[in-house]
């Protein structure tokens, strides 16, 4: 364990209470999603459902997947992949719209 000082992650212990709170938050957001899609808001429903899904995804990445306590390089990599995916979506839709 010679590289212990380079590992801020290894020393961090996420408490059971924190994880339980995160779970409750995620369950609450699931409930909100089901409730919101039940009332018909038209195209807005898709937007709301996707925004809530993104928030839930962010919570999973931050706490469950420990990104909050990882080295910054992990966060940059994840950000890079999401930017790449966003770019793929944009480019595809442009191609599709102007065909």
């Amino acid at each position: 364990m010679e590289n212990h000082e380079h590992e801020p992650h290894e020393n961090h212990i996420t408490s059971y209470t924190t994880l339980a709170k995160v779970l409750i938050g995620l369950l609450f957001l699931t409930f909100i999603t089901v409730a919101v899609t039940g009332i018909h808001l038209g195209p807005l429903t898709v937007a709301v459902a996707l925004i809530i899904a993104c928030v839930k995804g962010g919570i999973v990445l931050t706490w469950f997947m420990h990104l909050k306590f990882e080295l910054p390089v992990f966060r940059y990599m994840v950000l890079g992949v999401f930017l790449l995916f966003a770019l793929i979506i944009i480019v595809t839709f442009f191609d599709y719209a102007f065909r």
Binding site: L19, T33, V46, A49, V60, L61, F93
Partner: protein, 198 residues
């Protein structure tokens, strides 16, 4: 001789693998988005066939299992082996529940004659055909990931039991957890897109 280990490298390798998985499912979400834009009315009709209750139940199951596997890491760090084993076992049980639900869900659809290549499906509108095709492929691929995750977590369970995974060395548990959270993450998007947006 000192044991050679690189936990950061292990986790980074796992993350890079997870990125490939995200782009794999990302591509499918893109296909879904394009066809949904093209056949929105048919997608709405077809999505009515899906059971939102089972979808919601499976969401809850996966969220709970994600929390338990994350808690297992805490338990291992606190050297509470027994609790860690219980938490991983609960995660595996939840995974099994998920698959049982999926079995009944798919079974019901197949009973109704809605399955890839079925006679009924070919008579439906093109948009509905595409929706069910995507539904079976995306939930099927996701279900396959559940099975892989279960195998991985079973290995983790026995390694915790044998002491190979302990408070000083638990990167395999972390990576198994990361994989399991990925499965959860994908479902978080699959559930509203397939089951709720009717």
């Amino acid at each position: 001789m000192e044991e050679h280990r690189d936990d950061i490298g292990s986790r980074m390798g796992m993350w890079i693998f997870i990125f490939t998985e995200l782009l794999l499912f990302g591509g499918l979400f893109l296909v879904y988005a394009i066809y949904r834009a093209d056949y929105s009315a048919e997608f709405h009709t077809a999505a009515h066939e899906l059971n939102a209750f089972i979808g919601a139940l499976n969401t809850v199951i996966l969220l709970v299992s994600s929390a338990t596997v994350a808690m297992a890491i805490t338990a291992v760090q606190k050297e509470n082996k027994k609790l860690a084993l219980i938490l991983v076992a609960i995660t595996l049980l939840m995974a099994l529940f998920f698959l049982v639900n999926k079995y009944f869900e798919w079974g019901h659809k197949i009973h109704l004659g809605i399955y890839p290549g079925s006679e009924l499906l070919t008579k439906l509108e093109r948009g509905e055909l595409l929706f069910f095709g995507l539904y079976y492929f995306m939930t099927g691929l996701h279900g396959f990931h559940i099975v892989v995750g279960m195998i991985l977590l079973t290995v983790v369970f026995f390694k915790i039991k044998s002491g190979a995974i302990n408070a000083g060395s638990f990167v395999l548990l972390e990576n198994g957890g990361l994989y399991w959270h990925l499965v959860d993450l994908i479902w978080i998007f699959l559930f509203p897109l397939l089951y709720l947006l009717t």
